[in-house]
């Protein structure tokens, strides 16, 4: 477990974040290795979603450094960060409800100018998410939660990102779709896209992640290879409901 970690693609180091007077992150450091799935676990109000927002430039940290592929992201606006190769699947999907499914997926390619390749990628998405084929001209807001999650993932992939950040991708989905989403995250990752995901459902997340971090009230309290964390009694007690979880 010590030698196999490749060079980091994304690195947060010493990040301190504040909302007004309240400190959200305390000296936060997280790295996502190239080609890995990294999962950030934590309960409510632990600062998970804010971590996503820091990476995407939606919230600015008061101090600390965020680098992507060796270059700093601090001070960049969200659209510029997206152009560097980070795509997002936001919390609760956040589709463009009044636009069609096709338009939603194509919005993911907003930063690209290669029309023909975009059209090919749209076809590729329909093989990856076959269910969306019949839904293309439907209003995105009329889809079920699980279908919306598929659209959100397809939309993120359309920018040909090097990394996808996902905020609670399984939240509010039926068990059937939860498995499907996790399966898809693994597939996406195998095609070479690094994944950083924030999750509350620790047992599922640790199934597919390479590494994981546990965030508690803004501090990293545990980190390491997912397999090791899964067996860690502290994680089991806090997040996996004691010994019932497999």
């Amino acid at each position: 477990m010590t030698t196999s970690v490749p060079e980091p693609l994304l690195a947060l180091s010493g990040v301190n974040t504040f909302y007004g007077q309240a400190q959200v992150h305390f000296d936060l450091s997280i790295t996502v290795a190239r080609g890995h799935i990294v999962c950030l676990l934590g309960g409510n109000a632990s600062g998970k979603s804010t971590t996503m927002k820091i990476i995407l430039g939606l919230v600015k940290p008061r101090s600390g450094e965020v680098t992507f592929d060796g270059a700093s992201l601090i001070g960049l606006a969200t659209p510029q960060i997206v152009r560097r190769g980070i795509a997002s699947v936001p919390e609760a999907r956040r589709l463009f409800a009044d636009m069609s499914v096709r338009e939603n997926i194509l919005m993911g390619a907003f930063v690209r100018n290669d029309r023909d390749a975009v059209a090919q990628d749209l076809d590729r998405m329909l093989t990856l998410f076959p269910k969306l084929g019949q839904r293309l001209s439907q209003r995105a807001g009329s889809l079920s939660g699980g279908e919306q999650q598929m659209v959100a993932m397809a939309r993120a992939l359309m920018s040909r990102p090097r990394m996808i950040v996902m905020d609670e991708p399984t939240m509010g989905l039926s068990p059937l779709y939860v498995d499907r989403v996790l399966e898809l995250i693994r597939t996406i990752n195998q095609e070479g896209v690094s994944v950083f995901m924030v999750e509350q459902n620790a047992s599922l997340a640790l199934e597919i992640a390479h590494e994981a971090y546990v965030l508690q009230t803004g501090k990293i309290v545990l980190s390491g290879p997912a397999r090791a964390l899964k067996d860690d009694p502290r994680v089991r007690d806090a997040y996996l409901g004691g010994s019932e979880a497999a």
Binding site: L56, L58, A77, T78, P79, V82, R83, A87, S88, P90, R94, L95, F96, A97, D98, M99, E103, L106, M107, G108, F110, V111, G141, R155, S159
Partner: protein, 607 residues
């Protein structure tokens, strides 16, 4: 005009003109959740640029349209870049107030450049009318319809097929998500402000040609009509704005057909209030997501109020109380009397807008109700003036609260729109209810102030009277704010959902605030009526509502001492510096803009 077909054609043509304004408002609201009160000013600018092009440069019509569209678009881009973009991270009310300030500045600049006198704007089209069924239609009607339909088609193509158009749609549905797709929201804002301004400018020019007359009063009217049409159609909904505009045009035209010209605007605002009450999201609102959080809370800039020791306030009050004993000029006393009257209005507004968070843009209506009640009580029923003024206050409290109550379930910007409309309705009812209010003639010969049989005619007695009334109202309001009731008011402002969850009845507390505030404003209006001895439906106008709002923001929202300080400053400083009257509104607009940008909490801070 005679036949119903004529009224229908007129309604649709006017509706087309409104649509050009409303579509721009809808685009801007969609992307920024902002009601752009400067839209009417751009329309005004468009009309005057059209006048320069046609009358002075003799441009042919197609070129005139292009020149107006391009010049108005530039104005829109400048507003977005320098007026609104710096406020991106401010409190939600800041951009709204900024657009009000910008509209004051633009209107006044146009007035100073071209003089307030109306000008003729010839249409350059042959003056013939074609028979169409039972009605007639002229080339200008066809031009307006053509411009309306062409603009709608161009806009449709832009939104549906261009990349920037997609960005506009995405940003208006979910701004954050659009940014995460790589959309540059600043460019989107630029695009919608440019388009909205181009359409608005062309609309102003067409209206000028339609009535063959332009003047600076067009601005506020256009903003109001555009806002009505947009809200009727569903705020932020572009096709809805078009349908809302046509509907508004027809309702007005038929209203005029049945009741006469002076009822035109009354029907417009009644339509707005009916829609706001029955379908606050507009007629064509889709079941869209709730507006982005926070709904309230950050609406008002939070700050630490400046603490002023009681003894200092007492000393200041004592100095002002003994002022008439010193050899001060009549002019100084007169200025301060105006300040005390404005102070009462500001006390009322700072309670309603600052403490309870209901930013009213129609507060002058409360003055009008108080003034008319007091004037009519003393004139027709011979009620002693002192009692009549109190009667004016009570009537303002009762009627004002009753009129505003349909808007209690609205929030944020919608409260501002509803109060603006209610203010206009009050003024229009006064204009049209001739049996009681004497209509456009107004009321003259109102008896002077008197108390227990003694006439208050000397400047110092009027000064003492108005000062004393204001101080009593201020003390009462100060007590109110420190009481349990005051805490409940602030709770509603800061988070109405949480307040409701704690069992506060919003309607009851909002009513209480409007009753108290209505009384203060009504008393101010009553005193003013007896001072002026003549009032009409335009004595208490929207400009006064906005002036009061500027005063309240200058002093610090919710701040009692701030309201009075703000009144003295805004009434007194222009006098001190001998600023000519026509520049004052310009200065108020600039003060509002600077405050919003650099000191949103006001001089003494919000409470």
């Amino acid at each position: 005009m005679s036949s119903w077909l004529d009224y229908t054609i007129n309604g649709l043509i006017v509706g087309n003109v409104y649509a050009l304004v409303a579509v721009g408002l809808a685009l801007i609201f969609g992307v920024s959740r902002l009601i752009n009160f400067a839209q009417g000013s751009i329309y005004l600018v468009g009309a005057y640029i059209g006048w320069v092009a046609v009358v002075q440069l003799h441009t042919p019509l197609p070129l005139t349209i292009i020149v107006v569209a391009a010049a108005a678009a530039v104005v829109g881009l400048v507003i977005e870049r320098f007026g609104l973009r710096p406020l991106q991270n401010s409190v939600r009310i800041a951009p709204l107030l900024a657009t009000i300030g910008i509209s004051f500045v633009l209107d006044q600049l146009v007035m100073l450049t071209f003089s307030p006198n109306p000008r003729a704007l010839p249409s350059q089209l042959p003056d013939v009318r074609f028979q169409l069924g039972g009605g007639t239609i002229g080339p200008l009607d066809l031009l307006i319809a053509g411009v309306g339909i062409t603009s709608a088609l161009l806009l449709f193509v832009f939104l549906r097929y261009s990349k920037l158009g997609w960005a506009v749609r995405a940003a208006s549905q979910d701004r954050d998500a659009a940014m995460q797709m790589g959309v540059d929201v600043n460019r989107v804002n630029q695009a919608v402000f440019g388009i909205a301004a181009a359409l608005g400018g062309v609309s102003g020019m067409l209206v000028g040609m339609y009535y063959n007359q332009i003047d600076t009063a067009m601005s506020l009217q256009a903003t109001l009509k555009g806002v009505v049409a947009e809200v009727v159609g569903g705020a932020g909904n572009v096709p809805g704005a078009v349908i809302g505009s046509l509907l508004l045009g027809l309702v007005e035209s038929y209203g005029v057909a049945v009741f006469g010209t002076s009822y035109r605007n009354l029907f417009a605002f009644l339509l707005l209030v009916v829609v706001l009450v029955l379908r606050p999201n507009g007629l064509f609102a889709s079941a869209r997501q709730a507006p982005p959080e926070p709904l309230t809370g950050t609406f008002i800039a939070p700050s630490r109020p400046v603490r002023i020791p009681r003894w200092a306030l007492a000393v200041a009050a004592a100095i002002f109380a003994v002022l008439p004993f010193f050899p001060v000029s009549f002019y100084v006393l007169q200025t301060l009397i105006n300040a005390w009257l404005l102070g009462m209005l500001a006390l009322s507004l700072t309670l309603v807008a600052g403490t309870v968070g209901q930013v009213s843009l129609g507060h002058a209506a409360l003055l009008a109700i108080g003034a008319y009640t007091s004037a009519l009580l003393s004139l027709t029923l011979s009620v002693p003036v002192g009692l009549a003024v109190i009667g004016g206050g009570l009537m303002s409290a009762a009627l004002g609260t009753l009129l505003i109550s349909p808007s209690f379930r609205l929030r944020g910007h919608y409260v501002s729109i509803a109060t603006l409309a209610i203010g206009e309705i009050v003024s229009l009812v006064i204009l049209n209810w001739e049996g009681v209010t004497r209509g456009p003639i107004g009321i003259s010969g109102i008896p002077p102030l008197s108390l227990f049989g003694y006439d208050l005619i000397s400047p110092s007695s009027v000064y003492w009277f108005s000062f004393a009334v204001m101080v009593v109202l201020a003390l009462l309001q100060g007590r109110l704010l420190t009481s349990h009731l005051g805490r409940s008011f602030r709770a509603i402002r800061d988070d109405d959902i949480a307040a409701r969850a704690y069992g506060l009845s919003l309607n009851r507390y909002k009513s209480l605030a409007f009753i108290f505030g209505g009384f203060a404003a009504g008393v101010s209006g009553g005193i003013a009526a007896h001072l002026y001895s003549y009032i009409n439906h335009e004595t208490f106008n929207t400009q006064q509502s906005i002036l009061a709002l500027t005063v309240v923001i200058l002093g610090g929202l919710g701040n009692v001492v701030g309201a009075i300080l703000g009144s003295v400053a805004l009434v007194g400083l222009p006098e001190v510096f001998r600023i000519a009257a026509e520049y004052r509104i310009l200065i108020y607009g600039i003060v509002l803009l600077l405050l919003v940008r650099f000191r949103p909490q006001g001089l003494l801070g919000t409470i």
